[in-house]
Amino acid sequence: MTRFKIVFAVLLLALHAQISFAQDETALVEKLKQKLDQVHDYVATGRMKTDVAFIKAPVGNVKIYYQQPDYFKLIRKSGISILPKGGVTVNMNAIMATKSYVALFAGNAITDGFPTKIVKLLPMNENNDIVLTTLYIDEKNLLIRKAITTTKENGTYQMNMQYGRYSNWGLPDKVIFTFNTQDYKIPKGVTLEMDEPLTDADRKRMQQKNGRVEIDYTTYSINKGLPPGVF
């Protein structure tokens, strides 16, 4: 009976510790959310680079609009913007807009040279497109250095953030968005093209199953309102 009490007490302690851990990370995530919530809206300018095996796209100047809770729009200043599906969430604010979630500690890691805490964010709402988000949080600076998000509809994508001038707002200077791509092929009979022999470099490039979109933010105009009808 005494042994049973000891085992029960240990289990209770372990459970308490587990709950404490979860609560601790919820607190951290909430703190992070509070920081990001300072930004009600922003208009940013930047340059976008698309690196996908089957897309040849030039670097373009872009304008980005954000408004709480998760309105996000990216417009190429002159021209057509090609964004990965689910690209509306090419920003942390939209991911962090999830209101009801469970935050679990999953270890520590060094991300881009910064010590980070790995936190698994599980949305409670079953209808949410996001199934799981893994955040690499720089606790000292209260910044998200990396996020890996798994969605129901658009696969898994990863965001790496680099911060600079706007780190006090939790806004990155650079975002590298990595995502899965599907195969692309159109019959020659449709495109009516000449046969072009593939070089080794071309072949290697075509085999890449991941695509990248890099956005270098040059300016942010924060909490100054947005022009009407942007979204």
Binding site: I55, K56, G60, R76, I82, I186, P187, M194, L198, R205
Partner: protein, 291 residues
């Protein structure tokens, strides 16, 4: 020589059949533009369905540049048939009407007559392409506006910036002129051998259709002979709408992916023109004119 050219041009533009090509092109382009104006988004969704599995496109995909590209892709396969109507009639038409012998009684060499006749056919071809460019490019730009041009190639998708497109169209139309002159030269050559117009016109059209089918079928045995068919090189105008990428896979504005291919194809077409016209002159010079 110039007077002779004027006479030949007068003869071409006096015939009602000359205007069939201009009317047909205007009608076809007008129908395509109307269709795309009314239901272009559905068409774009259909053709972009492959790429839209992974990406969303934000902007004016259906713009004047894309409409022009669609028109060229559809029409440049068929315009040779319209050119054959005139080019394959240049000598055989005269023979059929019985005016060839009369014409050769003039103090002008057979070489000059042939040169002038081919030049007249070339001017007709040029005017047809200018007409096509005005309707397909400039009218489409007016109707649909301009934006980046997104083109689907067999293995990849190309995005050309708005300010990097127009010069490519000038190059493409220039190349298309070479391709159409090759057709004109073929029709011109065949017209030397016939006494009426129907034969060389049908023969020219048949050769173009036959070679075009061989050029586009991805069957290994056909792929071996494709580089030797002039119809394979006629579609090299599309190479103007592809650009180079750097090591980071960023497209480099103002570049051409296969410049050497364009030059090589252009030379092959020029060689065909010289060969066809040269053989036509050689045969005509030695020909016993009986009509």
């Amino acid at each position: 020589m110039f007077t002779l050219l004027q006479v030949e041009l007068y003869k071409i533009f006096k015939r009602p059949r000359t205007y069939i090509a201009f009317i047909a092109i205007a009608g076809l382009i007008g129908i395509i533009q109307l269709g795309l104006k009314l239901d272009g988004d559905a068409y774009i969704n259909f053709v972009m369905s492959n790429a839209e599995q992974s990406f969303t496109f934000d902007g004016k995909l259906l713009n004047g540049y894309l409409v022009c590209y669609i028109i060229l892709q559809l029409l440049l396969v068929h315009v040779p048939l319209l050119i054959a109507l005139i080019a394959a009639d240049m000598i055989s038409g005269e023979a059929n009407m019985g005016t060839l012998r009369l014409m050769l009684t003039q103090p002008v060499s057979r070489f000059e007559i042939m040169m002038v006749k081919f030049t007249a056919a070339a001017i007709y071809t040029l005017l047809l392409l200018v007409w096509m460019a005005v309707l397909a490019l400039f009218v489409s730009m007016g109707l649909f506006g301009t934006d980046d041009l997104i083109i689907q190639k067999t293995r990849y998708l190309v995005q050309l910036s708005n300010d990097d497109v127009f010069w490519r169209y000038i190059g493409a139309f220039g190349f298309a002129l070479l391709a159409m002159l090759t057709v004109a030269a073929l029709g011109f050559l065949l017209s030397v051998f016939a006494e009426n117009s129907i034969g060389p016109i049908v023969a020219t059209i048949s050769i173009i259709i036959f070679f075009t089918i061989l050029s586009t079928m991805s069957i290994p045995i056909f792929q071996k002979i494709q580089p030797y068919l002039f119809t394979t090189h006629m579609v090299a105008w599309k190479e103007f709408f592809d650009l180079k990428v750097n090591a980071d896979n960023t497209a480099l504005k103002g570049t051409l992916q296969n410049k050497s291919q364009i030059i090589q194809s252009a030379w092959i077409l020029v060689a065909h023109i010289v060969l066809f016209v040269g053989v036509a002159m050689f045969v005509f010079k030695r020909k016993d004119i009986l009509t």
